[in-house]
């Protein structure tokens, strides 16, 4: 997620952010996929899925490879 988040950056994650509100394009979200926790930025929102892309697209494992991510996999929104 360079240049926004550098390795080791400590962030607060609001776990209830998407309880009543859907994620918006531009939000940075934390999500879970195959047991690992990742952080990426929302590019598009459609139905129950989000398309997530890293801020460093040259070198990012994101929806371009993983496909759209179900809202169920979102852990929360990065707030700081």
């Amino acid at each position: 997620m360079l240049p926004t988040l550098k390795p080791g950056t400590l962030v607060w994650v609001f776990h209830w952010a998407f309880l009543f509100n859907a994620p918006k394009p531009g939000d940075i979200v934390v999500f879970r996929i195959s047991g690992e926790v990742f952080v990426k930025r929302v590019e598009k929102v459609s139905d129950n899925q989000v398309y997530l892309v890293g801020d460093n697209p040259e070198d990012s494992l994101d929806s371009r490879k993983l496909g759209a991510i179900s809202l169920k996999n979102l852990v929360g929104k990065v707030i700081v």
Binding site: V11, G54, L61
Partner: protein
């Protein structure tokens, strides 16, 4: 209570985002598999055969590892869209890398190199440079893909 505030790790990449990818090692390893296959036809002492087979195993596994790194970490959906043959090419090369270890099969070994070279050509094109095939300097002869 304090666990609530304990930081957890969220990744932004599958591993370190180094951005350093190169299809050269896969091609070199594929040439090595061809060379070991040639040598297995020339040597007959049990000791030589054991050593050569060991190196063939290692380099067959290296081709697989290098191609999987490109496949999992480098190639993205847009690359597969622009090159519809890429996905099958990588899968077929990885299968061949197993076949060349299971048998002494020159035809498959040469096929593995050809597929690895085609993947290298696609790789260099995605990097915006022009791939070219040059004569290899190895005893296996044949070619290797580099870029201009």
């Amino acid at each position: 209570m304090f666990n609530l505030f304990k930081p957890k790790i969220a990744y932004a990449h599958c591993d370190i985002p180094c951005g350093i990818y190169d299809p050269h090692d896969a091609q070199m390893a594929a040439h090595t598999v061809i060379r070991m296959t040639q040598l297995l036809g020339e040597k007959d002492s049990m000791h030589d055969v054991a050593r050569i087979t060991h190196v063939k195993e290692e380099h067959g596994a290296l081709v697989e590892k290098e191609l999987e790194t490109l496949n999992h970490d480098y190639f993205k959906e847009e690359h597969f869209k622009e090159n519809p043959q890429l996905r099958d090419l990588v899968l077929s090369a990885i299968k061949d890398s197993a076949k060349v270890r299971q048998s002494i099969d020159m035809e498959t070994a040469k096929g593995l190199l050809e597929k690895t070279m085609q993947i290298a050509e696609i790789f260099y094109k995605t990097k915006g440079v022009e791939p070219i095939r040059i004569k290899s300097i190895y005893p296996t002869g044949g070619e290797i893909v580099i870029y201009k």
